[in-house]
Amino acid sequence: MIKNLFKLSAMATLLALLTSCDKQDFKNDADNAKKVHVEQLSADMLKVRDYVPKFAVMAHRGSTFWTPEETESAYRWAREIGADYLEADLQVSKDGVILALHDDNLKRTTNIESVFGEDLPSVRKDYYLSLGYSDSEAEAKVAADKAGFIPNLTSYYTYQELLMLDAGAWFNQTNLEQARQGFVDQKQYISTLEDLIMYSKGYRLKRDANSERIVSSMSKKAEQVSTLSGKSDVVEYVFEYELDPEDSGNRPGIYLEFKESWLNPSDIEQRVYNELDRLDMNIITKPADGEPFYKRGKINVGESNGKVILQTFSLESLVRVSKVFKGKVPMCFLLWEGSGSTDISNSDPQGYASFINLGVKYLAHIIGPCISGAPNNYPDLNKPWQAYLIKKSGMLNHPYSFDTRDQMAKYFGDYNFGVEDSNLFSPPYLDGMFTNRSEMTLNYFINKGIRGNDAPSTVPDPKQLLERLAY
């Protein structure tokens, strides 16, 4: 009996060997996304998340398409076009001025090569003398600066030296179709955080007869800042601004990026906190409860509790922001796929969820994934299952950066043709857009009928707007 049983089993095995056609479950990210665990935002975090308007338009660096990025022209244009947020990257000058500037190397967006070459700026000694140092002290400081000098890196230059650079002319040379004489005639400066805030409030730079910005005073403070270039005195610059005659009343918020941790002082988060406080933009100390995102057909985000959003790719900065701002200011954790120090290198559902969980753990309210598509052709970290995981955690999804209507339609889900997976992965796959074409994104959202009730219902023509702003 037993013998027969085993003969039967062996035959069955042989049959299995010969006929095996078992349905195989191969790796499927969309299926696996349903299995992975993502942490949820707490009730307190959800409250802060809702400080941010739905389907927000973030003017990426002001505008990279129409204007020299992160300059006065870019931010004035973005404010007037009706963006909800003016987006900026934060760096710190050698003397502690917080800048709105993307590249750590000044060569691409300024004329530094022709102004300073690769040498320590020759004005450095005069700078020290103007701060009250004796001749010998100034000499010694210049010698020390020279010893460790690395040319073209932002944090090796004082703000006084950065003021000497033109941050607008390069744009005309590299963007012939968008070139405008006004970007040269009204010299474009490397912006400071204070500049950015003043632009958002309807101001512009006050200029002298030569169209140079006016700095009314410059004085050494009793504190120091540690940058890549070493320890230096913090210098307080007093700038002058004036009401922008072209201000139409939009009050956008600001969306500030803390860059890679090694680039900036290790206390930049606290410095930004203090600067926001000084300029009435810190909702922790000065809440703006009850203010709507839109008022009488104008942008009012800059007057609401959502007036500031913070963002970073940096894991280290994410932790530090959580310690300084304690989750009380909306925070976006940006994702980029690659092998760099801050990049997500494993973007399968488990890896992706681990970054979302990191965001929740360190008090972020928003995930900012990169998107694919021309002209940048970034990696795609906002596939439907990835957007689903973000949504599942309760976080908002602010992908970056949009340049074409095609990208907008894709990530809004216009091309899905009804093939979502049991509504789990239903569109839209975003809650806002970092856009280089704010006018296009605004029109897209307006046409979808998803902007807030009191939001502007029309968008100025971008070229006519530039004319109006005298560029």
């Binding site: 037993i2 280290e316 801050t342 290198s345």
Partner: protein
């Protein structure tokens, strides 16, 4: 009389040896009694069907031919030559190829020299033929930590109480390393038998292997040695080894130690091994430091470079315990000269059980692992530029198997195993429980 008994024992041992290499006595044999010559040729085939149930990452259920060998041997007086070649998966695999000389002896002990390509000495599990193993696969611990075939020469001694094997081997059998030297190992296995007999044996022993790794690859004018310890789960159908995989860059020397015991009587056997592997490393820091100089963000001093790129030795371990009970059929056999349990005999019906564990995790206390970056953070908190971690997250598994084996006749067997694996691998956090049901038909002639 004593002389005849000894000779009979020696012949018996020799016959056992042939059976060991061939699993079953080959059908085709040519004997020349006049010249004391025997030539044989045989074949072996194994095919498995496995069904896997997993929680997250799928495994490929299905059927596979995992062994298809042609084997041949020649014995001439005190000489024995053996070679076998595997063609499973449609590819040629180099298997055993060795010559063996047994010194004529009047005493009860035998001295033997074995040279060629064959399984290194320091593992009971790997020296046991798969055909006669009683389980469909060897323990995951042995597959990861012990060493398989190498090219070398060994001296072996055995008598009623002792089996003593030791030898030296080359790391790269083809000497085709792109750089460095061939590397070498010394390994041995030493057993004592307090109980020795036809129906019952007990041996206890230990094994050791010391290896100097000489091969590697050249990167930026630096020879980079390394070692990979890995194993699939205890199955032969989906042999993916990513779940248990430890990459050890800069490995230079390995010390493998194991302790083992085996007991059997006619109806029951128990055997087990504990394995430990210690890996030391050597890295040309000065050269690597010099190679990275020349950029703004270079490490500035050798000391700072070393601090940012720490290096330490690693330790891994594993063990298994295997039990078998014959419900019917002929009793268990034992090879005294190799210190190994033999395969089942005709009409044997057997139930078996095994527990094994393998630990390829060597993770520093307090470290944080972020799977989105596949990276350990030594301070336990995330940062952009953490110091390189010295942790190795190769995975840890506990595996439990129960099985049923039936031997139709001396040429064919049927096996049925169920295995549960419990995995702990930081790279596969969603994969904890794996279930496998598998069956095998195999024959040898």
């Amino acid at each position: 009389m004593k002389k005849y008994i000894i000779n009979a024992l020696a012949i018996c041992c020799f016959a056992t040896l042939n059976a060991q290499n061939f699993d079953a006595e080959p059908v085709l044999q040519l004997n020349n009694k006049e010249n004391n010559l025997n030539f044989s040729i045989g074949a072996r085939f194994m095919a498995d069907y496995a069904y896997y149930s997993t929680e997250y990452t799928p495994m490929k259920s299905g059927a596979a031919i995992n062994d298809a060998r042609i084997r041949t041997s020649l014995s001439v007086k005190d000489w024995y030559f053996y070679g076998d070649f595997d063609f499973s998966a449609g590819k040629f695999h180099q298997k055993n190829l060795f010559a063996q000389y047994t010194f004529p002896s009047e005493s009860a002990g035998k001295h033997r020299i074995k040279a060629g390509y064959y399984t290194e000495l320091a593992s009971m599990s790997l020296n046991t033929s798969r055909y006669g193993y009683h389980f469909m696969s060897r323990s995951v611990a042995a597959n990861a930590l012990a060493t398989g075939r190498s090219l070398g020469v060994a001296y072996q001694f055995f008598n009623e109480r002792f089996t003593l094997h030791q030898g030296i081997f080359a790391e790269n059998k083809y000497n085709n390393q792109s750089s460095g030297n061939q590397g070498g190992t010394f390994s041995g296995r030493w057993l004592y038998r307090p109980l020795s007999g036809e129906n019952q044996n007990l041996h206890i022993g230990f094994a050791a292997r010391y290896a100097i790794l000489g091969t590697g690859k050249i990167e930026n004018d630096v020879l980079k040695t390394g070692l990979t310890l890995s194993a699939p789960f205890e199955t032969s159908v989906d042999v993916e080894s990513k779940y248990l995989n430890a990459e050890i860059p800069w490995a230079k020397n390995t010390l493998y130690l194991s302790g083992e015991a085996l007991y059997h009587n006619a109806k029951f056997f128990a055997r087990g091994e504990y394995m430990y592997k210690h890996i030391t490393k050597k890295r040309p820091d000065e050269k690597l430091f010099a190679n990275q100089l020349g950029g703004v963000w270079s490490w500035t001093t050798l000391e700072s470079w070393r601090k940012g790129n720490p290096l330490r030795s690693n330790n891994f371990s594993g063990a298994y315990l295997e039990l078998g009970y014959l419900l019917s059929g002929g009793g268990y056999g034992y090879s005294g000269e190799d210190g190994l349990l033999l395969g089942n005999k005709n009409k044997a019906l057997e139930i078996v059980a095994r527990y094994s564990y393998l630990n390829l995790n060597d993770i520093n206390d307090g470290e944080f692992f972020l799977i989105g970056k596949n990276k350990f953070y030594p301070t336990g908190e995330i940062s952009d530029y953490p110091a390189a971690s010295t942790s190795v997250g190769g995975g840890k598994v506990h595996a439990f198997t129960v099985g049923l084996n039936y031997t139709f006749n001396k040429y064919s067997q049927f096996m049925l195993d169920y295995t549960y694996n419990n995995l702990n691998n930081v790279y596969f956090p969603m994969d904890k429980n794996f279930h496998t049901i598998q069956a095998r038909v195999m024959f040898s002639f």
